[in-house]
């Protein structure tokens, strides 16, 4: 996947390194959340002083980013929001990559065999999936389930977003299928499953990683949109989208309440986009 030459290209790409830096920093922020914050994210600290004008108390040594309208520590809520945003995005992407790659490889493999019907049916399914108003579907399922938990968000996001991946992996599989050594393996009587696993998967892994990286960015946006539209995880759970939605009402007095989660969402998406572009350039150089 990442041979030495790709690795060298990646290391020379400044944007990719910045992206990697952002992603690692946010990852650490999420992992170390309990250690970094003295206050639980859902605890109201009513001892937080009010400013003389009566507005919410701003950044202080006690509360690094101040408190929100319910006297909860913003820094701590952001850190726990990072856990949810990044965790959901990574797991949902894993799910959609596994499904998308499996469907894509199967469809591509059977494209020119007698079992072409498998390819046709799977690709029709992908066509239908791509015609769905994706965000609407996710929202409808989220709202109709009533009680939204982390696993429902994960499943809904993961299972509604694999269609594009499947289409890409299919076209790559068709290319790989015709390669000489794959043909040789087939002639030696390898089973289809082993062929897909041993020869096709390593060859489509590069594009898969690139798509997955961009998909993490999309998942972060999707999760925060759901929270923002109040059909995501219910309060008092701290998510970036909900913090932004709640902070919006205080834009006039305490803009930090909306700005802080907004910056986090933007940085996370930017980080994964940069990383994805860096990986694409490193793995699939168009000009050397």
């Amino acid at each position: 996947m990442l041979d030495p030459r790709s690795l060298r290209r990646f290391r020379k790409n400044r944007g990719a390194l910045v992206g990697l830096g952002i992603v690692v920093a946010l990852g650490l922020y999420a992992l170390l959340a309990p250690a970094l914050s003295a206050f639980p994210p859902e605890l109201s600290d009513f001892t937080a002083p009010r400013t003389p004008s009566g507005t919410l108390s701003g950044p202080s040594a006690r509360h690094w980013l101040g408190v929100d309208h319910l006297y909860r520590d913003v820094w701590s809520r952001l850190a726990h929001g990072a856990r949810i945003s990044l965790g959901v995005a990574l797991l949902a992407t894993t799910l959609s990559s596994v499904v998308g790659a499996s469907v894509g490889m199967l469809a591509g493999w059977f494209e020119s065999t007698r079992a072409r019907l498998v390819d046709t049916l799977l690709m029709r399914l992908v066509d239908i999936g791509l015609s769905f108003p994706y965000l609407l579907l996710v929202m409808a399922i989220g709202a109709a389930l009533g009680d939204v938990t982390l696993s429902t968000i994960l499943l809904v996001l993961g299972l509604t977003s694999w269609f594009g991946t499947a289409r890409l992996i299919r076209s790559k599989t068709i290319q790989v299928r015709g390669l000489d050594y794959v043909l040789a393996s087939r002639a030696l009587g390898q089973s289809t499953f082993r062929l897909l696993l041993k020869h096709v998967l390593p060859n489509v892994a590069g594009p898969l990683i690139v798509v997955a990286s961009a998909s993490v960015a999309q998942m972060i946006i999707a999760e925060s949109v759901l929270s923002y539209l109040q059909v995501g995880l219910p309060p008092p759970t701290a998510t970036w989208g909900r913090m932004l939605q709640e902070g919006q009402s205080y834009l006039g007095v305490s803009p930090r309440l909306a700005v802080a989660p907004g910056v986090c969402i933007f940085l996370a998406v930017l980080g994964f986009n940069l990383l994805g572009e860096g990986l694409r350039d490193a793995l699939d150089p168009r000009e050397d």
Binding site: G15, R124, D127, I128, L130, S131, F132, P133, Y134, L135, L136, L137, M139, A140, I141, A143, A144, L145, G146, A217, I221, S224, V225, Y228, L229, Q230, V231, L244, Q248, L251, G252, A258, G262, I265, F266, V269, L270, N273, L274
Partner: protein, 329 residues
């Protein structure tokens, strides 16, 4: 070629049917009870039961599905104002909203013009800005301007729609008072003025995306023989770009516009929510929160038809442009 397009058309209709069916079952199998939502949390069980009966929710799922699809498309023109949409010999009946007690066709008809206004403004905006920025960036490749444009497009691609919307609203409406904060307006001029911010919000992602696409395409085409010929004739760089390279760079753009409709739809939901814009997106959010099944079905049907139609038109354009397609594989 006719056979090819007919096959595509049949497939498009099938896709819409599949989307509608899937949405119907997903929305109706899931646990939360619309009658309970309508009656309110403290309603007596017999009231909830009465509402269920009124809405026909007490009937078996398959019967409800059969009813929905059989009334969806009926032959024969309807009378004006009966809540159906007449399409020549057939009419489309999307049922009645559970909560608003109005025909869904009427609700969609009222919400469509605002969405089309913002959507078309956004499309014009992203095409104009994307093409111009892409051409200039490619013409000045390697300069600070080019570098800055690429950096800006990355920001545009990475900022979620709702973030862009909030920032624009805060800066241009709340801060500078150039535009109204939100709402629709009464006269057309007012509406146009109010539509600028939502359109910018909706179009910024596309503008950034198109800028990159055009720039990359142009840079790829600049190595082609006909470009070298044009340069050898002594034409100015800008003329080479605009007259020779841009025409070819626009071809992938046409494909992307068709595919982008889905992204615009997603963006419209969020944008209309932020700017309180009375369009389809706002209607769909409201319907989903209220568990208003017929309206959700109507919106999904409208959105997926638009996406499928756009893809079909792209196919038609390809078939007309590329003889290889029309002759089949």
């Amino acid at each position: 070629m006719i056979a090819h397009l007919l096959r595509k058309l049949g497939w498009s209709v099938f896709t819409i049917w599949a989307v509608v069916t899937a949405t119907f079952f997903v929305f109706n199998v899931l646990p939360e009870d619309p009658a309970r939502v309508i009656a309110g949390p403290q309603a007596r069980p017999q009231d909830v039961a009465r509402i269920r009966e009124q809405l026909g929710l007490d009937r078996p799922l398959l019967i409800r599905y059969a009813q929905y699809t059989s009334q969806l498309v009926r032959l024969g023109g309807g009378t004006p104002g009966d809540g159906t949409l007449s399409l020549g010999v057939a009419r489309i009946d999307l049922g009645v909203s559970h909560l608003k007690r109005r025909p869904v066709v009427e609700l969609l008809g009222r919400a469509l013009p605002p969405t089309l206004l913002v959507g078309s403004l956004a499309l014009v905006f992203q095409l104009l800005l994307g093409t111009c920025a892409g051409v200039v960036s490619a013409a000045r490749r390697g300069t600070i301007f080019d570098w800055g444009t690429v950096a800006l497009t990355l920001v545009g691609i990475s900022a979620p729609t709702f973030l862009i919307g909030l920032v624009l609203q805060y800066l241009l409406a709340r801060g500078l008072h150039w535009f109204p904060l939100d709402g629709y307006g009464r006269s057309f001029a007012e509406r146009l003025h109010a539509a600028v911010l939502p359109a910018l919000t909706l179009g910024l992602f596309g503008a950034a995306y198109y800028t990159r696409l055009i720039r990359d395409e142009l840079l790829g085409l600049l190595g082609q023989d006909y470009v070298r010929t044009a340069r050898a004739k002594g034409q100015r760089e800008l003329v080479v770009l605009l007259k020779h390279a841009l025409r070819n760079a626009l071809i992938p753009l046409v494909t992307v516009i068709g595919l982008d409709l889905g992204a615009l739809v997603g963006g419209a939901i969020v944008t209309e929510k932020i700017f309180r814009w009375p369009g389809i997106g706002a209607l769909s959010v409201e319907a989903i929160v209220d568990r208003d099944g017929p309206v959700v079905m109507g919106v999904v049907l409208l959105f997926s038809s638009a996406v499928v139609l756009a893809n079909f038109l792209v196919d038609v354009a390809y078939a007309l442009l590329d003889p290889r397609v029309s002759r089949g594989r």
